[in-house]
């Protein structure tokens, strides 16, 4: 069965390593914070200016001055720090953040990503996404394998305006975990009960399948 959004987040959480600073984008990536594996310590950075982001506050304890990049009220963990936007992006551009997880509308087989604009329809802006994808060494995209119309989001070429070129290394969808290298998607794992055929049929870009593809363990 295909994963739900929580399942995608749970799978991505397995990629976390002890001691990492991690930036989580809006949407599915935010949920990753709920599934940090036992025995691992990570610190979450939010690009509006906080390191050591904690969970949502209890009702009545919201602070208008303390929000995340999604403009949601948050709390901080012990050891947290605040900083200005230039310092925040110095952390990102300077590659001090070990992992970036973000959503996407489209990803191409060479690692291009589009997630900020649909010409003539939706223009929200790129926010910090262009800085994040251009700088981070380790980028995981969290998204559904197909869009609501059933069209594959893993493409030969992105059709929407790009956010970054040749930067995505790994994609976790509701159907599969895929690595991007040498101009193709490499199928690494499939969601429990999802067949290789289904993944093939829903991936427009080149898909490389090497031998038996294991199921994810969640």
């Amino acid at each position: 069965m295909a994963l739900d959004k929580k399942g995608i987040a749970q799978r991505i959480a397995q990629e976390l390593r002890d001691g990492w600073y991690v930036n989580l984008g809006i949407g599915i990536p935010t949920l990753v914070a709920n599934y940090i594996p036992e025995g691992i310590e990570v610190e979450f950075q939010s690009e509006n200016g906080v390191l050591g982001m904690g969970p949502f506050p209890f009702e009545g304890e919201e602070d208008a001055d303390l929000i995340n990049a999604g403009k949601q009220t948050i709390t901080t963990m012990k050891g947290a720090s605040f900083f200005d936007s230039a310092t925040s992006f110095a952390m990102i551009r300077g590659q001090h953040v070990q992992l970036t997880v973000l959503g996407a509308m489209e990803v191409s087989e060479n690692g291009d990503i589009a997630n900020w604009k649909i010409p003539g329809k939706m223009v929200k802006g790129m926010g910090g996404a262009m800085d994040l994808v251009a700088s981070a060494d380790n980028i995981i995209v969290a998204m559904m394998h197909s869009n609501r119309a059933g069209v594959s989001k893993l493409l030969k070429d992105c059709s929407l305006p790009l956010t970054g070129v040749a930067c995505v290394k790994k994609v976790v969808t509701d159907l599969a975990v895929l690595e991007i290298k040498e101009g193709a998607f490499h199928l690494v794992e499939r969601a429990p009960g999802v067949s290789v055929e289904e993944i093939k049929s829903k991936t427009e870009g080149s898909l490389i399948i090497n031998g038996e593809v294991p199921e994810m363990s969640l």
Binding site: F58, K71, T73, S88, I92, R93, G164
Partner: protein, 231 residues
């Protein structure tokens, strides 16, 4: 040096039609809400506003948009404002969308006397169109220029009569860089203290960057996304 002015009316004196303003804040967090409300009253038009976001329909910069006082916005994310999207798609409003980190650094550069810098952000996208690209360490970078403003308007938690500022939590965001980049910088603060009351070790923005300071009459500090958990 005493930078104190009496009120918000004096604060915005000298702001005229067609000027370029920088306004601090991320979302509705850390925005100079008193000064924005005053700008709405003045009816000054044709403004170019540099601000990460454009407020929401009925608060923050959204108020200036509703009033058609803004000619051009330079921002990174404007997704929370329907009127903004409408004016942009209809062509009434000029919009320059730039990556958030580049926006922050362009403001910082403007205040720091650095005319331009190279960044990897936006390479290969429409943001880089028409801009010089150069390869450093095997990686292409885009030349981005500094931003300046006739007036920068920032919001701080505490300030003193010398113009020194301390920000609270994530309300700091773009305020320190914008304070540096304004020809005239106006700071509205929640609490204005006599010089000497703030610990020099803990000042975020030194008073040299601030020309006018006043205590805001009222701060609504609206929350955009109130998210909570249950006990």
């Amino acid at each position: 040096m005493n930078k104190v002015i009496n009120n918000v009316t004096e604060a915005v004196q000298g702001i005229e039609d067609n000027m370029t303003l920088m306004l601090g804040g991320f979302g509705l967090c850390g925005i100079p809400e008193n000064s924005i409300a005053e700008l709405v009253k003045t009816g000054i038009k044709g403004l170019t506003c540099i601000s990460n976001n454009a407020g929401v329909d009925d608060f923050g910069l959204g108020l200036l948009l509703q009033n058609k006082q803004i000619k051009k916005m330079i921002s990174s994310y404007v997704g929370e404002n329907d009127e903004f999207e409408r004016q942009m798609l209809s062509g009434e409003l000029e919009v320059d969308l730039i990556p958030q980190g580049s926006l922050a650094e362009r403001c910082r550069a403007g205040g720091a006397g650095i005319p331009a810098f190279f960044t990897p952000a936006g390479y290969g996208t429409e943001v880089a169109e028409g801009k010089e690209v150069r390869v450093f360490n095997g990686k292409p970078h885009v030349l981005e220029s500094a931003l300046h403003a006739d007036f920068a308007i920032v919001k701080a938690w505490k300030g003193d009569t010398d113009g020194n500022l301390v920000f609270k939590a994530t309300a700091r965001n773009f305020n320190p860089m914008m304070a540096m980049a304004g020809k005239i910088t106006i700071a509205e603060v929640e609490e204005l203290l006599p010089a000497g009351e703030l610990d020099p070790n803990e000042i975020h923005t030194p008073g040299i960057f601030v020309q006018r300071i006043f205590q805001g009459a009222r701060f609504e500090k609206r929350i955009e996304q109130r998210t909570t958990r249950t006990k």
